[in-house]
């Protein structure tokens, strides 16, 4: 149960503010913002997503440069509220096509309308874009996505936006195409976050893949979709799992440590032929999340050689090797390296003939950035 919901810009302006129960004082947005901005507790410099000020619990998530906040006085489930905030952001995005400060400001009435149906007196009613369609009457004012600055290559590793921004999927689920005709489209993205730690000698210490199959459907009539996965997919490791019937997995076998599914997914034939069947609801949603620690060849290998070149100078040689066939290209590769906090100046030297590469030293957070458009 929540008391209030509001969206703040990073400057602290109220973009949307909805009070559901009237038991938290009106100034909560300011209290929250000041607290987050000047967080200095427990030696930490970043406010945790949940904190308590004077008996009021504040939950927040950052999505697309906006702070989505909920308050409550009761001891609610933090997962529930944080999940809800994330979900509200997604519903709004489904409606507006693009979620940012501008689109939100232009459509705040629509957003209020959504919020009224999503939560009543602090209790969640529904977060399904599909169901909400029949209750919501405002039409979105579409912001032109093409003119938006790209989210930045690192966007996909940030929370919330787990996929590359592509203009095709930035349209609203309710807005009609110019000309009044709808295109029958469905987008299925597979997004994997690969985390690998190398030792300084190049040996892999840990490696993990967190993946999501994300779907966004614009199909009319909500047909059933079947999604066939690799048949040699096993779930669970070390004989712990009931699925572990082929322990002598062949070369093509993929072993997932674990996975979970969206509630619309039927798993009736999953055990037999690894097929998921579902009637995709409107809007964007993750069909399946999975996690694996099976050994794999990391797509990139980075080596760094650091040499002290004098009392106040160090030379770093960074090398990246792409470990995949040359007919595949990787877009927007970014390499970041944290630098000591007393670094004052960084100069870069690129390989001769490098095209489409930029380098930058981010003074504020002492980071070196090297961006490659293609590799």
């Amino acid at each position: 149960m929540i008391s209030q919901f509001f969206v703040l810009s990073l400057r602290g302006d109220n973009i949307v503010f909805r009070d559901y129960r009237g038991d938290v004082p009106k100034g909560s947005a300011e209290i929250f913002f000041r607290k987050v901005k000047f967080w200095k507790e427990d030696e930490e410099e970043e406010a945790p997503p949940v904190f308590n000020v004077d008996g009021v619990n504040y939950f927040h998530v950052k999505v697309a440069g906006l702070l989505f906040v909920a308050t409550t006085r009761v001891n609610s489930s933090p997962s529930l509220v944080l999940e809800l905030l994330q979900r509200i952001a997604r519903v709004i995005k489904d409606y507006l096509g693009v979620l940012n400060e501008d689109s939100l400001r232009k459509n705040f009435v629509l957003v209020y309308e959504l919020l009224d149906e999503v939560i009543d007196f602090g209790y969640v009613q529904t977060t399904s874009t599909e169901l909400l369609k029949s209750y919501v009457f405002n039409e979105p004012i579409v912001v032109d996505a093409a003119r938006l600055p790209p989210l930045g290559p690192a966007g996909m590793f940030m929370q919330g936006t787990k996929r590359m921004p592509a203009t095709a999927v930035t349209k609203s689920v309710v807005a009609n195409e110019p000309g009044g005709r709808r295109r029958e489209e469905i987008f299925v993205d597979i997004i994997e976050k690969i985390s690998v730690t190398f030792s300084s000698s190049g040996y892999i210490l840990t490696s993990e893949i967190d993946g999501t199959i994300q779907m966004k459907s614009y199909l009319s009539g909500n047909p059933e979709i079947r999604l066939a996965l690799n048949e040699e997919l096993n779930i669970g490791r070390g004989g712990r799992s009931i699925y572990d019937y082929s322990s002598s997995a062949g070369a093509g076998a993929v072993i997932l440590d674990d996975c979970n599914f969206h509630e619309s997914v039927h798993l009736d034939s999953f055990d037999v032929d690894r097929t998921l069947s579902l009637v995709p609801p409107d809007g964007e949603f993750p069909v399946m999340n999975y996690r694996m620690t099976q050994e794999f060849k990391p797509p990139f290998i980075i080596t760094a050689v650091i040499e002290e070149a004098g009392a106040f100078k160090a030379e770093v040689i960074l090398k990246v090797r792409a470990d995949f066939s040359s007919n595949i290209t990787a877009n927007t590769v970014a390499i970041r390296m944290p630098l000591p906090k007393y670094t004052t100046r960084v100069s870069f030297e690129q390989e001769p003939g490098a095209v489409g590469q930029t380098t930058d030293f981010k003074e504020a957070n002492k980071k070196l950035e090297w961006n490659l458009r293609k590799a």
């Binding site: 489930s77 529930l80 509630e263």
Partner: protein, 814 residues
């Protein structure tokens, strides 16, 4: 349709009130109000949008209220919605104007379109104006019976809103029972869920004053209701599932089949992509299996993978919430997670609040097999640019070292930290080396060699400085220059602001003097002189280690903020905002009135956590009472029997007269109490009025609590109980039964030998409104009793005290 003008996009501080604009809007709205020209709705939409955008940024547009209402006569649903939003926001502050809206809202509640009916009903209930509640009852009643699910769904929450505006109106209209029947029969799952939410709130708030409500509240946890909800489980959306799961986690299963049925049914919820659903399921599993150790362990094994998947698939914020729960589980059963340690490795881009949790978990799961790898990983973090994390990592290494696994390798690492030449790393490492040496003195050779190289000038943090000084004192014979370093430090005594450092300095110099007197004598003198003139008072700080009781409380509150804050909920929520059933969990039972009794206990003695609930005993004792029924006592029987006569059955009954039946000693005791002189009292003081207690007195915990809070203390007394009595008081129940026989009832009791605490009450048989409330603390080892009495009728409190004391004094005697 054009979007609102750009100029309203970001109101600058230079127009704080927006007064000019507001009066402008007022004019325009007025013009539109009566207009029927085509396109009016569009212009209204624009104006309404402006109004709402002002409202959002905090400009007061309440002065437009009447104009907004005038404009609301429209069939345009978007306009209606904006108007409802506006009205809902300002009605509370303008109750008179709110009356204006009632008419059109009531009309809309009868609209043909269910959507409009629902919206109007929701707005009507959101007005939050107390004197308008009479207008709500009719539409709400109709709404609950509406043929459309949407309207019923809104009405269910509407009833709850009404309850918060005026509880009596809601109860009088019999809405709770309508909600209950909807909950058990409605075809729409969201209606069911909303009824459940509403009922949980209403009944837990009502429970403090009405026994019926608290029974209803318990009934929500009865097997038929729980099974009914579980059977419909798949109909609910994910949020409603969370609600139901939360309820199920409080259900006490009847047997192990019950448990396994529920668990099998919910098994697939662990695969859900919504972390809230998974955590709620995990809570059910963990709590249900608490008494079955091996199954409980299997549950841990089962939930591990789904939780880890969720941690890595959600946003940082969601991960944090899940990790906090994982953290709790890891702390409870580190062994079960010892092979998963790699999942707790930090990633460079994680926020520090996540890293901190992970470091904690890495420390906890370290054992013989993984210590080496964990410490290696931790050492990487020590070089981290994030200072807080680097510090935390050093501490983590130290903690693992103190856990005794593979100390050898760790000591080397710690010593390397000392040589890293980063102030904060050295500081943390020094503190750890000190702790380590206290536990493993055998490492002193290696450590002191390195510590000796550290210049005291480079150590600034008080804790680290104190650690260094301690080592200088303790191992002064191994460090050649120890006396001189100490001497230097003493010279700068006045610059040293930390009391801890000064204290350590004093002891270190003394230790050093005992081992190397000639070199230290001068320094010691200086130190003592400086110390004597020191105005500093050393303040001892108590470390607040989390005791296991608190940890268990947090575990009870799994899937709540308690886990994230690592505090039980009573430490951060106000009483009135605690959830339903929260207190029943504490006692593990489901007895009536736990909440209020607990509250009393907290008010009276905030630290007294182990107060038991009295109700169960109360009922147990009521059983054998004369006619077996506590509520329908016929007037003729012992209901008004006098206390003395009821107990001393062998003696002749003298209850028909108004003669005092007290012994002379007792009267003296009262006189003493009243401060009257002993000599004259026996004759001149009128005998206390004869007091009869109602043997069947009933008070509900809420009333008790309220009275206890309101009434002044009538008497505070200390007396003794007989040694036999003290010996007989092995558990609170014994005394309860005894006092029950004297028509003095217990409402709450607690404690363990030798200290017991009771809350008693009694009712004057002749004046039903006159209650006596007693707090009684008994120490059985000293036979001392401390008593506080409060009474509705102060004039009878002395008489009551007599009865109470004589009843108590007879406890234990045959």
């Amino acid at each position: 349709m054009a979007p609102p003008a750009q100029s309203y996009k970001s109101p600058s501080p230079s127009q704080p009130s927006g007064k000019g604009e507001v009066s402008d809007l007022k004019l325009q709205l007025r013009q539109l109000a009566g207009s029927r020209a085509p396109g009016t709705d569009d212009s209204k939409r624009d104006l309404f949008k402006k109004v709402i955008s002002y409202m959002t940024v905090g400009i007061d547009v309440s002065s437009l209220f009447s104009e907004m209402v005038m404009c609301s006569a429209t069939s345009d649903i978007v306009l209606k919605k904006m108007c409802y939003l506006y009205v809902g926001n300002y009605a509370k502050g303008n109750p008179d104007l709110a009356l204006l809206t009632i008419n059109f809202l009531q009309k809309d509640c009868r609209d043909e379109d269910p959507m409009i009916r629902g919206l109007a009903l929701r707005s009507l209930c959101s007005l939050r104006v107390a004197n308008l509640v009479e207008y709500l009852v009719g539409p709400l009643g109709l709404g609950l019976k509406d043929s459309n699910g949407y309207v019923r769904m809104v009405a269910a929450i509407g009833a709850l809103k009404l309850y918060h505006i005026s509880a009596a109106t809601c109860v009088d209209a019999d809405f709770p029972s309508m909600l209950k029947s909807l909950m058990l029969h409605d075809s729409d799952s969201q209606v069911v869920a909303n009824c459940l939410s509403a009922l949980q709130e209403i009944w837990s708030l009502e429970a403090s004053s009405s026994e019926e409500a608290s029974k209803e509240r318990e009934a929500l946890l009865s097997k038929p209701v729980i099974y009914y909800l579980l059977n419909r489980f798949k109909d609910f959306n994910e949020w409603a599932q969370c609600l139901v799961l939360d309820l199920v986690s409080k259900y006490v299963p009847s047997d192990s089949n019950d448990i396994f049925d529920i668990m099998n049914l919910l098994e697939d919820r662990l695969q859900h992509a919504n972390g809230a659903v998974v955590l709620a399921t995990v809570k059910v599993f963990l709590h249900m299996t608490l008494s079955m150790t091996d199954v409980h362990q299997q549950v841990y094994e089962r939930i591990k993978a789904p939780l880890l998947t969720l941690v890595s698939s959600g946003s940082q914020e969601q991960s944090y919430a899940l990790l906090s729960h994982l953290h709790l589980l890891v702390m409870r059963a580190p062994m079960l997670f010892s092979s998963d340690y790699k999942h707790f490795y930090c990633q460079y881009n994680e926020p520090s609040y996540v890293k901190k949790l992970k470091l904690d978990m890495l420390t906890a799961v370290a054992n013989e097999n993984n210590t080496y790898e964990i410490v290696t990983e931790l050492c990487e973090y020590v070089a981290n640019v994030d200072v807080a994390i680097a510090r935390e990592s050093v501490r983590a290494v130290g903690k693992i070292a103190l856990q005794q696994y593979d100390v050898n390798a760790i000591v080397d690492r710690l010593l390397q930290f000392l040589e890293m030449e980063k102030g904060y790393v050295t500081a943390e490492a020094l503190v750890l080396v000190k702790d380590l040496l206290r536990k493993y003195p055998q490492w002193s050779q290696d450590c002191i060699a390195v510590v000796g190289n550290i210049s005291s000038r480079n150590v600034q943090e008080p804790k680290a400085k104190a650690a260094l000084i301690w080592m200088l004192g303790e191992y002064c014979q191994d460090m050649a220059d120890a006396p001189y370093v100490l001497e230097n430090l003493i010279e700068n005594w006045d610059d040293e602001h930390s009391a801890e450092v000064r204290l350590h300095l004093l002891t270190a110099v003394l230790k050093c003097f005992l081992k190397r007197p000639p070199e230290t004598q001068k320094a010691l003198g200086a130190a003592l002189a400086a110390g004597l003139s020191d105005s500093h008072q050393a303040v001892s700080v108590f470390t607040d280690t989390q005791n296991s009781e608190i940890k268990d409380r947090i575990f009870d509150e799994f899937n709540s903020l308690s886990v994230v804050y690592q505090k039980p909920s009573y430490m951060f929520t106000d009483k009135e905002h605690r959830g339903p059933f929260e207190f029943s969990e504490e006692t593990g039972g489901l007895s009536v009135g736990v909440e209020s009794v607990e509250n009393i206990a907290q008010r009276v003695d905030a630290n007294d956590n182990d107060l038991l609930l009295g109700t169960s005993e109360e009922e147990e004792i009521r059983g054998p009472s004369p006619d077996g029924s506590a509520y329908s006592a016929p007037a003729y029987d012992a209901a008004s029997i006098s206390l003395t006569s009821s107990h001393t059955q062998s003696e002749p009954v003298i209850s028909n007269s108004s003669l005092p039946t007290y012994s002379a000693q007792t009267s003296l005791a009262i006189d003493d109490l009243l401060g009257l002189s002993l000599s004259s009292s026996t004759t001149s003081v009128p005998s206390p009025p004869f007091l009869k207690l109602n043997a069947k007195a009933v008070i509900d915990p809420g009333t008790f609590q309220r009275k206890w809070g309101q009434l002044p203390i009538a008497l505070t007394q200390e007396c003794s109980i007989s040694p036999q009595g003290a010996a007989a008081l092995t558990s609170p129940q014994v005394l309860l039964r005894h006092m029950q026989g004297q028509s003095i009832h217990c409402i709450a009791s607690g404690g363990q030998a030798p200290n017991f605490k009771f809350f008693f009450f009694a009712q004057n048989a002749e004046a039903s409104a006159s209650f006596f409330l007693v707090e009684c603390i008994i120490n059985t080892s000293s036979s001392k009793v401390q008593i506080k009495v409060k009474a509705d009728d102060q004039s009878t409190s002395d008489a009551f005290w007599n009865l109470f004391q004589s009843a108590l004094s007879r406890f234990g005697s045959p």
